[in-house]
Amino acid sequence: MTDVLNPIEVHAEDHGHEEHHGPTGILKWMTTTDHKVIGMSYTITAVMMLVIGGLFAEIIRAQLASPNAGLVSLAQYNQLFTMHGSVMIYLFAGPFAFGALANFIVPIQIGAPDMAFPRLNALSYWLYLTGCITMLSGFFTSGGAANFGWVGYAPLSNSMNSPGAGADLWIGALLLTGFSAIFTGVNLAATIFYLRAPGMTMFRMPIFTWNMLVTGILILLAFPVLTAGLIMLYCDRHFGTHIFSVAGGGVPVLWQHIFWFWGHPEVYILALPFFGMVSEIIPVFSKKPTFGYKGMIFATLTIAALSLGVWAHHMFTTGVVLLPFFSAMSLLIAVPTGIKMFNWIGSMWRGQVWFSTAMLMSIGFVVTFLIGGITGIYLASPPLDFFTHDTYFIVAHFHSVVMALVLGAMGGLYYWGPKMTGYLLNEKIGKSQFWFLFIGTQVFTFPQYLLGLRGMPRRMAVYPHDAQWQFLNQLSTLGAVLIGISTILFVVNVIVSWKKYPAGDNPWDGHTLEWFTTSPPPHHNFYRLPKIRSERPTWDYNHPEHKALVHGHNHDEANA
């Protein structure tokens, strides 16, 4: 039916699209500009950061299992929760999404030979890796790592309250990873705007690619603000400026404005890629086209638009922000997110659901994100926020959200891992990993919601015996242990399945172009490309008996 023709000819300077001869070994890793190798480097580094950040979390939960535990000193506890948050947000969740999976998958999904700026892409990785080293090296300085919380609020982060190299290393690391993110954002947007295959119109792009485009735009809007703020903070600490200190006529709350003007779009920079992954996985394992393709894209764009106007909902209790504006905007974001929830369920509805590990992880994502999202709607209301601000209710809310992202990340690894390595992971271990992760997440967060409502503040290393917080804290620690076991199961699975189960090119009967090429894809990605007539060209090619459905509709029938 559909005839396959040669893909776009790629001029790699000399010899077209044949085998690639380049350096090997460590030199290959250092000099590569191939988005697939860079994506793999990002994946491995980011998963290592997940494990390191997870270890910090396990120590924190062990400390909180009894009211007066002396596992770590109070100073060490401050460093641990700061570095747990910083590692997870700055070094794992974002880079894993836009550096690792997007870097690998997006060019292939649109039929491109590489990212638009391959050398800039490599630079992004080196800035990210050195940023990771810089931030973690704080632990080896005499004063220890940064200890002012991952938000670095002024005036706690000034040179008087937080002297020492750890804080400066934290600032330096964020400068490096910030530029890394900005370069990746530029690269994603340019790749998607300029390197699509013929016939791959904007409204035929896979939803993951759409979400990464919007993420790229959000990165460009948000990250420069953080970088500017960090330079101001550094000047306050070392050059005697008074931008964030009252003493010299500065405004401490300005730091919060700048930080959260980056920080809230950042929440969506973290979430949108995982929304995209789930939007790819659910239709494939339900054997259906995406339900409401255009609605999904509209929702993504609306989330991006609104996300720039909600930053001060993190600052309700400062008393100097416009409550009605930020409350209304925050509540509005629930609408596009609700559209996405509805469409994910719609994609599963009446499908032939195949409960593979990737699918289970995605369903786990939807459920857990729903819990995190609904508690977010509570928090958008200032009276409720005043009551729960800086309590464990907040901690529970955003851990529901980010643990949903971890579920999505694991779904993405099980789904695209075979494409990246050429080998499947063991499904049995994968499914037990899912149950440990999913149940662990709920056991971990639910007690924290209750603790927050009973008044337990966040960031405390010890708590009074008579407050009756111990049982709930122990339950939460049990949840953290279950999550830890699930991570160990993942590592075990990678070792056990190492080069054991060859995946073939298309193990899941996938929809999008990455399943058309080999696993792992060749240098410059494609030997041939199918005709692109809908948002699932590979499925159309493999199932010529079915007519290509544009956005799930048969247009001829609709017109008849």
């Binding site: 776009i8 300077e13 380049g22 590569t32 080196w126 530029f179 013929p198 735009i217 809007l221």
Partner: protein, 130 residues
């Protein structure tokens, strides 16, 4: 091209409206300035795409009925491998460490950075290794 332009221009317009409402209503200026910058950042590439989308015919990737042959030909130069991003990254690393451990680290930082800029642009002109 038209869709790309529309996305950026409508995002920018929305930020502009939000900025006007916020600036009129609130008592602080930082948020207004940041939203104004967001609007400009969307308008800059958005208007560029809009300008060109009206002057050029649809690219093969904008044509829903395009065949793969229409995209055949020269796409761009994709370097197979390059050491310069690594050198530049190390330069940036040392420069950031200079912020923390002492100004002397700027020497290797700027040296590596400068070397990478020269080497990288030279490679760009020659076309690079494969």
């Amino acid at each position: 091209m038209k869709v790309e332009a529309k996305i950026l221009l409508s995002l920018g317009t929305f930020f502009g409206i939000m900025c006007a409402v916020y600036w009129r209503w609130s008592v602080e200026n930082a948020g207004g300035v940041m939203m104004l910058s967001g609007m400009l950042l969307c308008f800059l590439p958005g208007s560029y795409y809009f300008w060109w989308s009206r002057r050029m015919k649809d690219r093969p990737e904008d044509n829903p009925n395009a065949t793969q042959e229409e995209g055949a030909g020269f796409v761009g130069t994709f370097p197979g491998s390059s050491i310069w991003p690594f050198v530049l990254g190390m330069g940036a690393f040392f420069t950031v460490l200079a912020l923390v451990f002492g100004i002397w680290l700027l020497l290797p930082g700027l040296f590596l950075g400068g070397w990478a800029v020269l080497g990288g642009s030279g490679e760009g002109r020659r076309g690079g290794k494969h």
